[in-house]
Each structure stands twice: as structure tokens, then as C-alpha cells.
Symmetry: C2
Subunit: 301 residues, 2 copies
């Protein structure tokens, strides 16, 4: 396939997956009859109609490498997305990154209030584990607990939440490349890695196949973060749906502030080349995972 | 056994269980080598050396009804306690109940800061599910996923978090008995009920036995809340380790404000009588569960 064709195929596949994820999330977040309406409204506000659903797509495509049914991987992907959305709500809070905008709309605590936003995040986290524990996610309970264990580690104090903690502590400090890499490996990398790992778990990957996916996800996650930092510098509010040039204003060290735009771009491209190489053992089946890697560094939002 | 003897036996059993839970939590919350020290410090601060560990004790004693090994139920109990501790951290936040004191010490966000407190709560929730997903909690993955499903529902948007949401929304409103009962059934009741349900799941209870435990927990949970409201009115800071008379100051309707002290006490006692009756089918094995019910309405902190 030529580059244009590949991109069309990827865009279509991503849109299709995003629609499926949306349906699932809509179902998972169906509100109760009375009392907690505002809570469920906030949970739905922060989770529906948003984002490219990159993480669920990674789970879906990783599971497809092993011929695992989409209906399983989509639910695992929806669980990752619930964790991702809860983390965005909490990260935006005044005590944290203090962001008023998210995906071009008021952040959850602006649209509702702080208490509702904290609780909506808490409830989304619980919903993620509830989704994975359900037999609909996989008939084998061993697979379900493996998913839950991996997601709780990836999203917890030694994973995503730990990364956010170090990131907050590192503000206004002279973080170096090693520190920034460590932060991002946890803060955004852990969940991206889990997204691929989930596909390997559902698909019953061999040790070698699982490792190849983990290595791919690892490089992809870092490249993704560098692309995000570049967008913060080069993008506009219109492109990204959130305030840009925030990192510099906050005196925050990033890959771009440490390396400069051009070297950061080079590094992202090198990581993507590495990531794509890891997929060799999967042959043609990994076409979408290869395309998504290229997409990640070329995206504008 | 006479009442004094029973109480001694209960106190001993609770202290023993609390020590075991402490050990487990200490192990579960062992910090990482570098970077997130303050996060783990906050998680440990909010979870260790605190409380009577009522919920884990309920899990332990419920599982013992079926002869299930303590090593399983203690881990499930530790998971409940992690959820309980995360909810206390978040409930104390300025945007929520705004409490500066907890168990006689500065609340987590006072001792650390708000961002750390939010993240510590988030990470404790993840740690609870990580604990349940681990094969050490039960060799049968079906049992582990059943525990995870039940805990995620009990603690999520249609359970504990939902209760806190309705409670916040009901402040300064004219909540009636029906509303207060609904709030408490979710806010504190759901987790107390899960504590007993977990014992039934681990022990492989029959449908009838499970229902008896759920009914017991249901009445116990409400009685516990009424006792808590009474403590808020009648207790002192010294007894409770937290600020008292807060409900009235906040214009918050409680069982006590609606019923008055004497009728609230009567209702709590009636609920406890009911709760104890539910345990008839378990005979002598339920002695501690009966004692704990009496203890709950007579406690001073």
C-alpha cells in the first residue's frame, strides 16, 4: 500500500474503533435512576465524545495480531480509556495542573465543580476495574485478573499516578533528560504500554511476542510524549483544544526545552523507527500498529 | 460467655486482626526506591496506624463462618481498608468536607498538600484492586474476579462515591429520613456490606447464607452510621480524633437531627437486634459478628 492509502485505511480503522468504544463507554456509564445524576453527567462529560481513542485502538490492534475477538479487546480498551479519562479530570484540577480547557471544552471541574470532578474521577477508576472483572471481557477469569493486575500496576503509585507525582514535584526544578524520560515513562508511557500488553494478554501471546509489543509500546509512548511537547510549543489552541505554551510558562522542563525543536523531532522519529522494527515478527498483521506509530509523530492535535 | 468475657474476646480478636491487617498494608504499600517517595509517604500516612479496622474484621469473621483460611480474607479485608482510606483522604479535601483533622492527626492534604492527597487517594484505589487481583488473595481466579466486581460496584458511582455525591448535594437542603437512609446506605453502607459479602464469596457461601450476611451487614451499616452521628453530637474531639458538632454547623441533616438523640439511639439498637437475628443460621460460629454489632453502637470513637 502507498502512504496515502495506508493513512486512509488507518484513519478509517481508528474512526471505526473509536465509534465502538464510544458505544461501549456509553453503555458502561449509563446513569442510575435518581440521586447521583450530576455525578454520572460529569463522568459522561469527561469520557464521551472525546479524543482519538488511541489507547483502545492499540489494545484492539494488538489483540488482532493473535486473532483474538474484537469484543474482548474493545472492552479492555474501554477500561484503559476510563482510566485515561479519570486521570485527565484529576490532572486538570486547580491543585494539580490547573487547566480550564480540555479537548476544546471547559475542564470537568469548570463545567461542574471541584467536588464533582474529584468524585467523577474516582468513580471512573472503579468503573474501569468493574469493566475488566465482568465475564463479558473474557470468559477465562485468569485472563481477567491478569488484565486487572497489569492495569492496576500501570495506573497506580508505581505507574501513571507516580509519574504525575514526580512531574508535579519536578516543576520549576532543573529536570534533566533522565528525569524527564522517567516521568514520561510512568505518566503517559505506563498506560500506553498496558494498552498493548492487554492485547497480548487477551491474545495469549508467547513470551517473545509479548516482549516485542512491550518494546514497541515503550518507544511509541516516549515518541508520543515528545510529539505532545512539540505540539505545546508549535501547535495552536485551535489544533489541540487546550491551552498551548503552558509548559514554558510553568517553567517546566520538557523534551523540547532540553533538546530544542529540531533535535526533539529527530528523537521522536528515531523512536518511531525503533518501535516499528519491533513489530517485524508479526509481519503484515501489524500494518495498523506501524501506521499508528507514524501517525503519532505527525499528528497536529 | 458473660458480657464482659465476650467483650474481652472481641477486643482481643479485633486487635489481633488489626495487627495482621497493618502488617499486610505495610507490605502492600512498600515504597519504590526513588522518585515517588512523597506519594508513598502520604499513602502510608493515611493508611497505617489508624482505625479499628472494622471492615477487614468483618471480612475475616464472615469468611471464618465457612472455614475459609484467614490468609485469604485478610487480603480481601486489606483491599477494603485501602478503599476506605482513599475515600477518607478525598472526603477530607477542601472541595469536599474540608476536614483538617482525621484520627487525631492532620488530614492528608494538611500534612502534605492537596495534589499529593488527591494522588495518594487515586493510588490507594488502584492498590486495592491490585491486591485482589493477586493470586495470593485466592487461588481461584473466579473468586478473585467476583471480589473485584463486587468491590468496584460497592465503591463506585452507584455505591460509595455516589453516596458522597448525594451527601454533598444534600447539604443545606431539607433531607428527610428516606434521603438520609439512601445516602448512608451508599456512602458507608455499601463498603460495610461488601466487607461481609467478601467473606461469603471467599467462603463459597450458599445463596441463603450469603443473603443472611448481606442483611446483617445492611442493618449493621445503618446502625454504625447512626452511632457516628450520635458521636458527632455527644462525643468530644478527644474521643473521636476528629472535629465534632460539624454536622450541625454545616446545616447537615442526620439521623440525629431528624429523630433526636433518644429516638436515634433506639433505632440503632433496633437495627442491631435485627442484624444479630440474621446470624441465627450460623449458630455459635457467628459469636464475634454478634459482639461486633453490639460494639458498634456502644463505641465512643
Amino acid at each position: 500500500m502507498g502512504e496515502v492509502q495506508t493513512l486512509t485505511s488507518l484513519t478509517d480503522a481508528m474512526a471505526e474503533a473509536a465509534a465502538e468504544v464510544e458505544l461501549l463507554l456509553n453503555q458502561i456509564l449509563a446513569g442510575p435512576k435518581s440521586g447521583q445524576e450530576s455525578l454520572f453527567k460529569a463522568m459522561r462529560y469527561a469520557s464521551l465524545n472525546g479524543g482519538k481513542r488511541l489507547r483502545p485502538f492499540l489494545t484492539l490492534e494488538s489483540a488482532r495480531l493473535f486473532g483474538a475477538p474484537d469484543k474482548y479487546s474493545l472492552r479492555a480498551g474501554a477500561a484503559v480509556e476510563l482510566i485515561h479519562c479519570y486521570s485527565l479530570i484529576h490532572d486538570d484540577l486547580p491543585a494539580m495542573d490547573d487547566d480550564d480547557l480540555r479537548r476544546g471544552r471547559p475542564s470537568c471541574h469548570i463545567e461542574f465543580d471541584e467536588a464533582t470532578a474529584i468524585l467523577a474521577g474516582d468513580a471512573l477508576q472503579a468503573a474501569a476495574f468493574e469493566t475488566l472483572a465482568d465475564p463479558k471481557t473474557h470468559p477465562d477469569a485468569e485472563v481477567r485478573t491478569a488484565l486487572i493486575k497489569a492495569l492496576s500496576i500501570a495506573s497506580g503509585g508505581k505507574g501513571m499516578v507516580g509519574g504525575q507525582m514526580i512531574d508535579l514535584a519536578a516543576e520549576h526544578s532543573n529536570a534533566d533528560m533522565k528525569m524527564i524520560t522517567r516521568i514520561q515513562r510512568l505518566k503517559t508511557g505506563a498506560l500506553i504500554t498496558f494498552s498493548c500488553e492487554a492485547g497480548a494478554i487477551i491474545g495469549g501471546a508467547s513470551k517473545e511476542e509479548r516482549q516485542a509489543l512491550l518494546d514497541y509500546a515503550h518507544d511509541l509512548g516516549l515518541a508520543f510524549q515528545i510529539a505532545d511537547d512539540l505540539l505545546d510549543v508549535l501547535g495552536t489552541l485551535e489544533d489541540t483544544g487546550k491551552a498551548t505554551q503552558k509548559d514554558e510558562a510553568a517553567g517546566k522542563a520538557t523534551f523540547v526545552s532540553l533538546l530544542g525543536v529540531s533535535k526533539a523531532q529527530q528523537r521522536a522519529e528515531l523512536l518511531i523507527e525503533n518501535a516499528i522494527e519491533r513489530l517485524d515478527i508479526f509481519g503484515d498483521k501489524a500494518a495498523h500498529l506501524r501506521s499508528i506509530a507514524n501517525f503519532v509523530v505527525k499528528r497536529r492535535a
